[in-house]
């Protein structure tokens, strides 16, 4: 036990020695969180629109007002023909062109039964997400306007036109549908990966690089003491980052923490088994720090983040890839984070995720320790 303690103390000394590293370990996560919290917003509104109104009647102006009044579209300019709208779409001054051909007003005036009025919407598809959403808004506005036009206003109006089905949405856990509530807790999983997977792998490889690992090996320390001693400080930093991120999420971004903080900490420790195991595993596979960080960042972190449901929902993935995600420990932690923060879930709901993290984590850590011991011999 004493040997173990000495290794931990040595690691802490080394961290303190590396003065600039401490702020980086604290500021890095904060920066990530602020960036994600403020920038990550997939809501689409105020789409810059260039107007091609070849009709110029009260009816066409009403339609334009409906577009701009919806809040989804903002008028960026107006040109006389559709051809002249193209440069606007090319250089990005507008993302959508609303084309109202001449005769629109007449067709509207003719009422139902006449020639249906035509409207064209050109969208810049280079940003496919925004284009899909924008076209959806346009379709909805036109459907509403169309329904009003179709509804006869005379006394003989059919009663049923007033009826129809109305959907009353009830949104749980995040009633205002703030995407920030979705993204900010996700930072937790990423920060912990950085601090408890990449950093330890680099710390171990660094001793390899400098040659001090050899010196430690010839001391009477048992391999497990060396492993635990090297990893323990990162657990401490990880927990500090965990509390920091949770605090900022709660107080700065107003993300509710509906479940128990204690449960969050406990389940995060299970998650750390996985990240530490992976970090140690990486350190046994590479020889330089550069390789260690490249490997953990790009071969592990990026794919794991993408395949965990942290940002992109797993339900949208093709079936075979969904199956792959079961092997990604971050997947379970993503459930835990969302469950505890937003849904207020307890262990009664989260136990399968806890079990999975425990299982995969134990497996990874064992594998890594075996390889590490072998590399010591």
């Amino acid at each position: 036990m004493y040997g173990l303690w000495r290794v931990i103390v040595k690691e802490l000394f080394q961290l303190r020695h590396d003065r600039k590293m401490i702020p980086v370990l604290i500021v890095g996560p904060l920066f990530q969180m602020l960036a994600l919290g403020y920038a990550a917003n997939t809501d689409v509104d105020h789409i810059p629109t260039v107007l091609v109104d070849q009709d110029r009647t009260p009816a066409s102006r009403t339609l334009v007002d409906r577009f701009t009044g919806s809040g989804y579209f903002t008028l960026a300019g107006a040109v006389p023909t559709a051809d002249q709208a193209e440069p606007w779409l090319v250089d990005g001054r507008a993302q959508v062109a609303l084309v109202i051909p001449g005769g629109y007003g007449e067709d509207v005036a003719a009422g139902p039964g006449g020639h249906p009025p035509r409207v064209q919407v050109l969208a810049d598809g280079t940003d496919a997400n925004s284009a899909v959403v924008g076209l959806g808004y346009a379709a909805k506005i036109l459907a509403d306007v169309g329904a009003e036009l179709a509804r006869p206003t005379g006394p003989a109006a059919p009663a049923a036109a007033a009826g129809g089905v109305e959907v009353v949405p009830r949104i749980w856990y995040n009633p205002d549908l703030k995407s920030r509530w979705f993204y900010v807790p996700a930072v937790l999983a990423m920060v912990l990966m950085l601090v408890t997977m990449m950093m330890p792998s680099m710390a171990v490889v660094r001793e390899k690089e400098i040659g001090t690992l050899e010196q430690i090996i010839v001391t009477p320390l048992a391999p497990w003491q060396l492993i635990v001693g090297k990893l323990a400080p990162f657990v401490v930093i990880g927990v500090v980052d965990l509390l920091l991120v949770t605090g900022v999420a709660r107080w700065l971004f107003g993300v509710p923490l509906r479940g128990s903080l204690l449960l969050l900490v406990l389940l995060s420790l299970l998650y750390l088994l996985n990240t530490l195991g992976l970090g140690l595993l990486v350190s046994t596979m590479v020889n330089t720090q550069q390789q260690a960080m490249m490997f953990s960042a790009f071969v592990l972190m990026v794919p794991m983040i993408y395949l965990s449901g942290l940002i992109f929902p797993i339900e949208n993935m093709p079936r075979p890839i969904q199956i792959v995600t079961y092997a990604v420990p971050v997947r379970y932690y993503a459930n835990v984070i969302r469950g505890i923060f937003l849904r207020g879930s307890g262990i009664a709901v989260l136990w399968p995720d806890a079990l999975a993290m425990l299982g995969i984590g134990a497996l990874l850590l064992t594998l890594a320790s075996l390889r590490f011991r072998k590399s010591l011999d």
């Binding site: 600039k20 590293m21 980086v24 370990l25 403020y38 917003n41 997939t42 689409v44 105020h46 090319v90 250089d91 039964g113 249906p116 009025p117 035509r118 409207v119 919407v121 969208a123 810049d124 598809g125 940003d127 997400n129 284009a131 899909v132 076209l135 909805k140 036109l142 169309g146 329904a147 179709a150 059919p158 036109a161 109305e166 009353v168 949405p169 009830r170 856990y173 995040n174 009633p175 549908l177 995407s179 979705f182 950093m199 680099m202 330089t288 550069q290 390789q291 960042a297 794919p303 993408y306 395949l307 992109f312 929902p313 339900e315 093709p318 890839i321 459930n335 969302r338 937003l342 849904r343």
Partner: protein
Amino acid sequence: MKLAKLRAVAAKEYRQAARDPLTLAMLLGLPTMMLLLYGYAVNFDVRHIKLAVEDRDRTAASRDLEAAFFNSGYFDLAADLPAGTDLARLTERRRAAAILVIPETYGRDVAAGRTARVQLVLDGADANTATTVLGYAASVVAEANAEVVRAELGRHAGGGSAAAAGGAPIDYEPRVWYNPELKSTQFLVPGLVGFILMLTAVLSTALSVVREKERGTMEQLRVSSLSPGELLVGKTLPYLSISLAATAIILLAARVLFGVVVRGSYLDLFVVTLIYLIGALGLGLLVSSVADSQAMAFQLGASGSMLPAILLSGFIFPIRSMPLAVQILTYAVPARYFLVVLRGIILKGAGLAPYGRDMAFLVLYAAAVLGLAFARLTRKEI
């Protein structure tokens, strides 16, 4: 600056890079991996939403409504719930992302021509998906309502009139340019180029300089007869070529795997990429002038270049939707301009002419960062 010395430093750096095939393989393999991930695995296209139904009405009308939901292709039936089920249990265990609750009075209201209300419970924990689901539900119901109105109108107009035959009241013609099938891969490719170039250029440059600092070999290089300019340019040249190779790999892979074709000119593409890369290499040098250890260089490089290139460039999240303060911040992110120009060249077949302002910003950024890096690195002991 002597060409022979420059070449000698570059050759040394090339050799060093070649001795680390793992890193090289990762740098060159990463673009393809990211492309595969984006192309096949992840997207925001919400489909197969798990919808549970609590039908308390169980009439023909309520079944019609359910059919309208499931026939839309967006929803999959997750469970047919008996009345009085604990709905929270369902969403909490994520068995259903949405629950449609049809009240007992639904069939009667529809028959009487009154507004019939149904409730849609949504799991808002994933706000993006929930927003999309809400949109789908609205369009499904709007469609169903339009059908009813059309049928009514037809009856009142006395059968065979034009109104009965006339389809939607407004003939809406959406047309998508540049990416008619709205494939996300099309618009992700330029974003990936921007992101990966930042990564390879900034990180590898910063790491290669800091590694020499860490090992003490930088001192040896400094006491040689090399001028600081020769040393720095020579060190960055190999990473310039590796990054260009990575760009070529992305474009090739995008073409082979996803049929993304460069519509504009390759020369324009090369010019803008080169300017962007020079800025990125400058940033790498700047990072190396601050960091003492590789771990620190990585942290700084990642926070200073990669994250903004992903988050603040309009790659995934539209800049327009950000708060004003963050929007202003994006003007300092070169990837923002690079992406606009790149999308123009690759997808719209445009030249550089419409993007004079963006190009000017890129040049300005490259000059500023390089100037700053050189000033720092040549002033103090490297």
